[in-house]
């Protein structure tokens, strides 16, 4: 049996004595869409960062396609197939949309060397441009390819992030609250585009999200974190309906009303 795309085992992390994650285990299989939800401060972002390598877990392992990546730096994990988007959008200023994809493609190929630049071989090549345009068309960004990034809306910017991540040919795409800052229609559009792209490329998605509606419609399975521990896991609908999740997560909201 092939190993899962992502397998986190017993990941634990504490900051100055405060436990942020308590033995969290989770797996994402090829082609799956998995949600990770939980109230504010549940440890979602911490877990996310442990998977990405932004912070290093105190205990536990993170495996990507059966390979232990727990000790690798962020960029090395990215090269092994983890792509991501950011909650607060992170694009390269002063670049066009196509240039975002181009640099990702060039990095993936790993054939950029100083001496090649000096010989004038560093300019964008036709096959690279074609690869970029293919993904841009898929995301519906074809018309914006030469726009400076400053001219885009937030939703378009998020799609550029996805496109940039796609150029690295990820096996796993981590989406960090992709609905933040978007309205309902934009969120729905984004979800539809993501589905279409996933159908084409076949990567797995791990979605960290606040927007219950998006999680419910988009993911097949979901994990729920509360106070650093996994409190529920299973098919998304069942998880969202379960009593324990309602008290921990939705119940909070009802109290506030």
């Amino acid at each position: 049996m092939t190993p899962p795309v992502l397998e986190a085992t017993g990941v634990a992390k504490s900051f100055a004595g405060i436990v942020a994650l308590r033995d969290v285990s989770l797996e994402v299989r090829a082609g799956e869409r998995v949600g990770l939800i939980g109230p504010n401060g549940a440890g979602k972002t911490t877990f996310f960062n442990c998977v990405l390598g932004v912070i290093r877990a105190d205990r536990g392992t993170v495996q990507l396609n059966g390979e232990d990546i727990s000790r690798l730096p962020v960029h090395a994990r990215a090269r092994r197939g983890i792509g991501r988007s950011f909650q607060r959008i992170e694009l390269f200023p002063e670049s066009t949309v196509r240039e975002h994809l181009l640099i990702a493609e060039r990095t993936r190929r790993g054939d950029g060397r100083l001496w090649r630049d000096l010989l004038g071989l560093g300019r964008p090549r036709p096959d690279e441009l074609a690869a970029c345009d293919e993904v841009l068309d898929l995301l519906g960004l074809g018309d914006l390819a030469d726009e400076p990034i400053e001219h885009l809306s937030l939703g378009q910017g998020r799609l550029v992030e996805v496109g940039r991540a796609l150029m690295t040919r990820p096996r796993l795409l981590l989406l960090d609250e992709p609905s933040s800052g978007l309205d309902r229609q934009e969120t729905a559009d984004l979800a539809a585009t993501l589905r279409a792209v996933q159908a084409e490329h076949g990567f797995a998605i791990l979605l960290v999200e606040h927007d219950v509606e998006l999680v419910e419609g988009f993911t097949e399975r979901a994990y729920v974190l509360d106070f650093g521990s996994l409190i529920a896991a299973g098919p998304t609908r069942e998880v969202l309906d379960s009593a324990i999740v309602r008290t921990a997560y939705l119940g909070d909201m009802e109290h506030q009303r």
Binding site: H75, P93, L118, G120, G122, M167, T168
Partner: protein
Amino acid sequence: MTFAAASVGEDLFRALLQGMAPGTVYALIALGFVLTYKTSGVFNLAFGAQAYVSAAMYFQARVEWGWAIVPALVVSVLLLAPALGLILERLIFRHLRTSSAVAKLVVAIGLTVAIPSLFEVLIGFEPVAGRTPEGIVPGGATVFYDPFGVYRFSRDELVAMVVALVAMAVLAALFRYSGIGLQMRAVVESPRMTELNGIRADRVSAFSWALSSLFAGLAGVLIAPRFNTLAAPDFFNLVVVAIAAAAVGRLVSLPRALAGGLGLGILIALANTFLPRWSGDHPLLASIQENVTPAMPFVVLFGLLVLWPAVRRTREQSDPLSGVDPPPPSLAAAERSPALTRVTRVFAVAFFVVVGLAVFTQADASWLFLVTQAVILSTIYLSITVITGLAGQISLCQGTFAAIGGFTAFQLTDRAGLPVLLAGLIGAVLAAAVGTVLSLPVLRLGGVWVAIATLAFAFFFDAVMVKLPWIGGGDTSLLQGTRVPRPTIGPWDLADDKQFLVLALLMFTVVSFAVIRIREGTVGRTLRAVRGSEVAAQSIGISPPRARITAFAVSAFIAGLGGSLLAMHQENVNYGSNFAPFAALFWLVLVVSLGSRTVEGAAQAGAAFALFDAVVLKGAVFGWILRSPDRIPGFLPLSPKWRFILFGLGTIQFARHPEGLVEYGKRRAHARVEQALARMRRTGDEPAPPAPVEQAPVEEPVA
């Protein structure tokens, strides 16, 4: 090694006392530095310049104008210093509050260059060698006290210590007991939170600038008697000492900064006392020892930065509400439109042909010298284009890399008799190697700390390495200079100035093309990604440290190559006037204010360095335009110091327009022309087509 054991304790005690006096003044400066950093987030390198202004004012009032001590002190320390602090806060730094720490640093570097010259021009102060500044009490340098029988304090030293201690006590009391002190402590925690509580953070920040500037002025006047001649670079060294002291307190703790300053003073005195003993028998050690003591603060600073992880983790802004800051102004239309690029290229070629013809047919030896210098410096400045323009890092040791190239050319021709061009090339490779090794520890620091660590390295090289015989030539070079021959290539003897200019132009062209290709190639794109968003770059598999190491190595190589060329041109390394840290600081200021992103900007900066004085300030340009040297307007020639003032102040726009003055102006002009053309087209063929909004690049930052 023979000395009586009993004297060790006595020496220790003596060194302790000896280090106290400068230590308290260092502490004073460190406190002021931390105060500004904490309340406004400005890494104020111009602090030394502020100290210099007060010291020079005091000197001028006392010695030139013959004032009594008290009025001179009141004007220079109590009035001028706080006023300067207020002006800086009001006119400059208040408007940069949301700018990045690096942008603020660049502005501070520009001010470091501009303020002393501006003061000297306004007051008419001229540093004169050998005229020692005096202290704030009569007989300060001639009356001694010896309370413990081991060390004779001069009256100046005692007064400096007492005044510094009183100032610190006042600061402590202010913080603890006064309303404004409480507000200052609050602003330090979070300016926005404080404002939400109804306190005007602006006013508190202005107050702390005035206060810290007062500290700077006081420290400047107190420390001045230790220098033989009042000169701005010495005071710049002083601020590096203060940073070292402040780094002990991770830049945020006032008591630790105090301890750091005191400790540094004592450490230097200890080294002065004990190192000669241990090194007495070893000539090699002796030569190092002589030079290590002046370099002590830089060694300490560099060591702290590289070895002490806690310093690195100091957040540049620890405001809990900093997330609500508006993002820094975005740079719309950073790419030139193709049309503008074409116009620029055509113009550049025409310009070069005209000027080139003029230079090769008309110029006399002195103009030829200046033009050649401009070309070579432009080559060196391309190294800043790479490290600052492409990689977004502020390196303050480019002069050191250039010096490595120059010294290698000198050593290898002098000792091994290598052809000088080969020696220069080896020098460039060596500089690249040093740059790579240096970047390994430095690059983990990030942001402002890269600038400070490279500055510490530049000072270390300046104070220690240059004096070693196998680098700077040692004693023989004092007599004969560090001579470098002009190259000979086959039939061409480049001793001829015009032929050498051809070589310099050739080098500049080659390096320019290399830089353009790097910028448009993988390395340039990678660096742009890392500069734009480090986390995003990592997320697609880019290793930011690796990208930056490449940038450092390339930049150091270019600087080394240019440095060796400069040495060949002047037939001497001339380290002091060409490559000293303070001189190299001006390089950065020039390139950044004119345009650090483009080859054009580097060329303009080179021309500005070598030719601005002769062409503009001495008025030659008017002579050419009016076709007679007699019609140069009467207010010329202006002091060459205006170079420092104009370009130093030019860095202020860096926060808003990092692409540089010339580039920004050109883009604006281009946008206007485009708009005008579009309007003409509209009025020309009715009915009007829809306005070509997308066509006109957005020039103003969105925020």
